[in-house]
Assembly symmetry: C2
Homo-oligomer: 245 residues x 2
Amino acid sequence: MKNLPIDAANADQLIHDAKALVQTYPKVPLTIDCVIFGFEENKLKILLIKSDLELYKGKFSLLGDFVHDNEELDDAAYRILKQRTGMGNVFLDQVKAFGSPARHPGGRVITIAYCSLLNIQHHALNIHENDIKWVSISSLHEMAFDHLEIVTACHTWLQKRIQEHPLGFNLLPEKFSLRELQNLYEAILGITLDRRNFRKKFASMNLLIDTNEMEQDVSHRPGKLYQFNFEKYEKNKRKWVGIDF
Amino acid sequence: MKNLPIDAANADQLIHDAKALVQTYPKVPLTIDCVIFGFEENKLKILLIKSDLELYKGKFSLLGDFVHDNEELDDAAYRILKQRTGMGNVFLDQVKAFGSPARHPGGRVITIAYCSLLNIQHHALNIHENDIKWVSISSLHEMAFDHLEIVTACHTWLQKRIQEHPLGFNLLPEKFSLRELQNLYEAILGITLDRRNFRKKFASMNLLIDTNEMEQDVSHRPGKLYQFNFEKYEKNKRKWVGIDF
DNA sequence: GCAAAAGTGTTGTCCTTACACCCATGC
DNA sequence: GCATGGGTGTAAGGACAACACTTTTGC
């Protein structure tokens, strides 16, 4: 189907009409909240800040901000992440919108939750502010607003995604041992895995590059260090078909 | 951690402060768009309306509306669905928020896409309006706004979900033949499946109830009709662990 | 009797699971 | 030499993929 060309004056009029229409729409405040995951001491952690709202004094809150005018949602999430951590080029994905009318005591605020994964030990990571902390997810029982619900949703999302996509490597140093990788999976999924089968599984994928380096400063036999072959993974992504529920 | 009780006057003050804060937040229009899937003539279809915006005259648009004050997002999606189809108690799930500044020609409008599955032949389905149509998803190449992108995201979402959860039954009559079920999977996934393996797969799940009824009015050997055992499924949901990418 | 789809089983391959012992290193 | 975790192989069972013929019904 081809449309006839619309002359410029008419197009202007139509856009003017569209703008007038949008003016009549009700408006709500819109924020982004980032659930920033890290992995440290074999624990899954999130980057949190003490709530700046007096009403939630002492409680932890997610890192968030409004979405600016003319800013893409993804860009807003990146901006928040960069402002708070100093790191760019980080894994980030939208998870879910939360918009319960009562979720903010000051009136309705819609928030879109983004999930981010980064390596806590990364050199570029740069957390100035005093009251920003890495908090173990298992120790979180209370948070400001509905942020515990948001964290739970993101954790569930992560548990699922990490089994289907090689996200977990974003939480590890560039070079890591198989033990670290397994600890990561066990921490996120909350289960224990058979070591031999775990190693066989990753060996059979042929997506780990042997760096010919070994762990340093460990008080036992050092393990080999690997890198994940993102390039190869991208080329051979599996087409996933299999009914299973 | 226990907090000391806060006296009522102080609490009022804090809430007042919170409200004052939220007043300062920038606001944007917020809508919900519903991608309503149906299955008819062995094709996956979506319920669409001709755009009411002059600028997109003749193009199809998703069914959407603003979110009302004090309305849960999920409730808003249900409201839109009910208004347009007459059906309640329908599968509905949030898929993704779309908020590109340029997605609406009249200015920034955030929309949250919801995905719904219903049975086109269901008696309660009640579509009055003339310009609302079931459109085959494979015939969609152009839509108003960014709605084609939204539809694509929902289709991808559905392809994934239908393999992991028994959603597909929402698109079929209560009683259905295995052939219909297979056609549904093939249409949604865009692949062909081995008939014997497909039947074996569902037989081994033990989640189909044999109704002892047969297809009527078919010009060949009639097939058995089954119902899905939602109750049993809910009881025995599999705990899904398996790294695979 | 013919067209059209229903219904059914077997085999080989692959993946997953369960499980136990020796090895390298630091102390 | 001992503690700690690294590294490896095998066998059994289960799931999946490939594949062809007979049966029932409408016309």
